[in-house]
Amino acid sequence: MAKFEAGMENMVDMYIFETTSLLEQLDQILMKTENESSFGSEDINEIFRTMHTIKGSSSMMGLENMSHLAHAVEDMFFIIREDNPEITDKKTLFDLVFTASDLLKTEIELLQEDEYTPTDFSGHMSKIEAYAKALKDGEGAAPAAVQTKTASAEAAAPAGKTIKVISNSGDSMTTVKIYFEDDCKMENLRALLVVNNIKSECAALTYEPADIEDNPDSAKAIIDNGFVIHFRPAADATQDAVIDIIGNSLNVKSYEVTDAADSGTKEVPLASLSEAKVTFVEDCKMENLRALMVVNNIRESCELLAFSPEDIENDPATAQAIIDNGFTVYFKAAEDQAIVDMIKATPNVKDAVLVRKGGEAPVADKKAPEKAAEAAAPAPKAEEKPAAAKAAEPKDAKKAAPAVSGGAKQSLISVNLNKLDQLLDIVGEIVITEAMVTSSPDLKVKGLKLDNFQKAARQLRKLNSELQETVMSIRMVPLSGAFNKMTRIVRDMKVKLNKDVDLVFEGEETEVDKSIIDNLNDPLMHMVRNSMDHGIEDTSEERIAKGKPAKGKITLSAYNSSGEVIICVTDDGQGINPEKVLDKAEKNGMLTKPRSEYTDKEIFNMIMLPGFSTNEEVTEYSGRGVGMDVVKKNIEKTGGTVSVDSKWGEGTQFTIKIPLSLSIVDGMEISVGQSIFTIPIGVIKESFKIKPNQLLKDTNGSEMVMIRGECYPLIRLYDVFDLKPSSTDINDGIIILVEVESEGKSACLLADELIGEQQVVVKPFSPMLNNFNVKENGMAGCSILGDGSITIILDIGNIISDF
């Protein structure tokens, strides 16, 4: 992240995290609204808020391009929110927002790379702006508060911000005093940057100190006295737009508008304005934002409007000032009393008193409670407005929250995943060390009295397993996040491929380890794409002809089964044609035995071999022949397996099996020859010595074991692993009956000896060993035992499935 200064990494992390989750939320809202094909006011506000936050934080990070793009979208939704225009072309609107969201997401990914150069979004921005303009024009007469942006006004700020004074006339210059962040260095150049930023928006512009460009000493003057800009906005820009640019400029700590035009003294003497004092309900909190609502309410009914304190929108501290001194509104309107009534109609306003009428001496103030009682009916115009103002409030409330409600309890924190990984590693070490202590050879001395030791050791063991469980549960995340991302992919592909498909979730609340989820996104995406692209029939006619519903269906389901999570991606499309797969495999020289000897399962799993793709054409979404083998690789990285099942004409099902947690399992240690293996306790049903009458052989010489009227295949582990057993006599060894629930298969394993039960920390095999398909050969990983030796953890499912 070369773009950012040292020390900013934390902020960048935070920014990336926040923005990513915001964009995900945005996608969800968009999906929802697109399905309903109508915008609720809540949704609009939510989108508006999201974009506003992204805009703010992006510009704080100095990522102007992202900030501007978010801003363009925000503007568009501002128009939608305020003007409530008839949206005829919804599709374009959704596409615009989706694309914007995608662009932002890609940018965030780019941001995490070392070489980051900001992408230019102006192309998409002008599209959005054009659409926004069309929306607004369609609306006809628009309130003065909304300004349509032109593409040239890229950097413009939200027009919707409170207009502090609508008395901005003629030649008056606005004065803004800027303070830069402490220690930001080279204040004069920062100031120059600000000047350059706003230059295009201003018809006239002067500043002091004037010699910032050439005189480094001016930096000192700026630190001491602030940097003062006098400007008059250009015809196509508003004063607020300019002020906003200033506020959003890099390293600007604070700014104040000490504005000649603002107070109206030059053009409109203060005395000519009516003055109303507003008080709020006690303890209503965030008085500044309540005041902002008041201003929003009456803005359109006033010819001229000013208020004090001024900076209510951005400075939460003004809340206290309002509590202490009240909130004063200066305005000029046709009907003063109507305005006061409107103020009173605003939520949380306790009272509003007309202190003075424009051009008149002050009326008797603070003695007008009876007037308040008289003012029964709120002004007609005020009826709609509060809703919008109220909706706008949470956004601002969020901003102000840290300052205002600092005492509130937070029950959620976000933690760096690395720290959790560390914690898990330490817990793993503790588990190993515990085993080292309790199985220490020192304890084996004869005649030792260990009662107290054993007691303490038991307690330690109990606490350790609790610790372990807690750490695991911290890392568990529901799959819904990963599933929801698929909604978006399906949506896009639906449009592109012109297929009508429903995406259905089942069991999305199933939880898996966070590190697994991260490795699941890509495989899921590939599978869903595959189902969309190859699975679902091209046309609904084709589907109807086959007697299927016209609308395709892709199901994502998840459930727990004996320490594993099973995730299925099922479609009801055309399925996989085994003949086609075989043809292709033959062509690519991938067949290792005669065609007729391949089972369906083997054939389907071939599509996940590297360099295989049944689709002749390469499409944008799938068919490059890299997809499915990457899926397999990624899943195996998490210690899981993936299999395909399909019925030609009826559909395809991908099944992913992943361990619930990567790290710690209860295991039974067994010995086979010189080697020690660990079998996860979960799959073991029982272990026993065999009686001669229980063993039988089939015609091929394959062995079976009869137990209580059921017959199981016998698997000699030393055969499976090509090891030298201590004895091949079945009566010397021990039989372990295992059952793999998810596959519904059982078998008897022959081992030399049971050593004992132990918790082991699963360590994955080195990638080098994974090249040899150790997983398929029945080895899930390895683990370090208390004495430092290594045991190999068996993957019983894979051992059985080979039989």
Binding site: S675, F721, S766, M768, L769, M779
Partner: protein, 152 residues
């Protein structure tokens, strides 16, 4: 791997660890060397090629062990007190140990002592040799570590 190590050994030279198998001297760039340990109990991993001897526990890390002799198609000889495991660390954070007959020394290789192996089909077919080094009147073969473990 810090940046200084990124420079190309073939053109700029650098330090190399020398070890021998039979009478042949091989070299490995110093940036790969994590440590050298004496031979210890190796846990056999079934169903892998015979040049992979198994895995060891290196202070909590599971490190696979390759026998260079078997990798190069030579017969195993019994391990003695000079037999060593050189633990290599790769850029992606993976560790692999290689068993060698004896470790000789770390030497500084000057650029002028390095030449490339001939580029033809039969000689050095598997590309395990990255460079030939001639110094002190002796020929050494610099191994391509990535190839050694990945090209399987």
């Amino acid at each position: 791997m810090n940046e200084e190590n990124v420079k190309d050994f073939s053109t700029e030279g650098g330090e190399a660890l020398l070890f021998s198998i039979d009478d042949t001297v091989y070299g490995i760039e110093i940036k790969y060397i994590n440590e050298i340990i004496s031979i210890e109990d190796i846990t056999v991993v079934p169903k892998v090629p015979d040049y992979i001897k198994g895995v060891i526990n290196l202070r909590g890390k599971i490190v696979p062990i390759i026998s260079v002799r078997r990798r190069f198609g030579k017969e195993e000889i019994p391990y003695d007190e000079r037999t060593c495991i050189i633990v290599l660390e790769f850029d992606d954070g993976n560790f692999v140990g290689i068993i060698v007959d004896r470790v000789r020394e770390v030497t500084i290789v000057k650029p002028e002592e390095i030449c490339l192996p001939p580029d033809c089909k039969k000689v050095n077919a598997n590309k395990y040799i990255k460079n030939i080094i001639e110094s002190d009147g002796e020929i050494k073969q610099l191994l391509n570590c990535e190839k050694l473990i990945s090209d399987i």
